[in-house]
Symmetry: C2
């Protein structure tokens, strides 16, 4: 933010997003693409059976290691009893739906703010269909993950549904789920 902005103009805020800072970020990235390189991270430890825990804290962005979080976020994943777990947390494919819902929502809110489109409320319902035969290795014709995901978003706004859909689809998690992304998995034993 320039000194002039600080002195003379209060930040413009739309949908709870600091639009002044958003446009400053866009301008900064236009001048230096390296500022846009981010790396997010998660650490996970197995506890027992279907129960494991992730910790999420540091990340890299804007050409520096970000250490603003004084403590990590922690999330327990488990399976319900019908899938042989003890239900101490949502299961991994449920967390995937949460990531997708959260990302579509935030993306819609930010992109709407940048276009001065006011959002009054968003409520999303997600359903993911999964045929367990893929995971169990019982059929090569059945994929292991979801074969369908449906997202219904109800949005309080004067903008058209078509415009809002277009904005939501800037979502990074939507991109990752709806397009392929080679994931490198390396295992070391000890």
């Amino acid at each position: 933010m320039t000194e002039q902005n600080t002195m003379q103009q209060p930040a413009k805020c739309t949908n709870g997003v600091n639009v002044t800072a958003l446009f400053e970020t866009i301008d900064a990235v236009k001048n230096d693409a390296g500022l846009a390189d981010f790396q997010f991270r998660a650490e996970n430890r197995w506890i027992d059976g279907g129960h494991n825990r992730s910790t999420i804290q540091g990340f890299y962005g804007c050409r520096q290691e970000n250490q603003s979080r004084s403590k990590p976020f922690e999330f327990d994943a488990d399976e319900p009893p019908v899938l042989l777990g003890e239900d101490t947390g949502a299961n991994p494919v449920e967390y995937l739906l949460h990531a997708l819902a959260a990302c579509l929502t935030t993306t819609l809110v930010y992109h709407a703010a940048a276009r001065d489109i006011r959002i009054g409320a968003i409520h999303s319902s997600l359903e993911g269909d999964l045929d367990l035969r893929g995971f169990l290795g019982l059929s090569d014709d059945v994929r292991k993950g979801y074969h369908d995901i449906r997202v219904r978003m109800r949005v309080k706004s004067d903008a058209s549904a078509a415009t809002l859909t277009e904005l939501a689809k800037f979502s990074p998690v939507y991109d990752v789920v709806s397009n392929s992304l080679p994931v490198q998995v390396s295992v070391d034993t000890y």
Copy 2:
């Protein structure tokens, strides 16, 4: 579980997984593929700016609505200040890494248990690289989501790294992220 099993054989447990029940599940699905149809769900409400909250509770599986959870799991997503949020929760792309880590771990543990491979510990580190220019709409050549994800798993086990990698890749979230999956997004306004 049959009455005979209940009377005569204690359930076999490997890596904290009830292997007796696991093989009973596999046999049941072999006889009735419809038992393998699962539907998982998430509901999400926008709160403000980059902050929103998902609730996860019911799901469908084994030919019935599962109502075993007396209350929902709740997860807050937000963005750190550098991404114009207030950091009240991990951000959506971080939750995606958690979902992937948790799923690879659980999958490895379950498939190892089915093969009588003992697992002593698993620790995973995930990194996801993202170029913010895609999200910001500054370049059509830059994808909006991660362009690379790396997973390093350290596993305490006598099995080979190659075998363990093969087992982990039965993961449903790994499948969804590494292969494309068309996601239907519908928006209704009011």
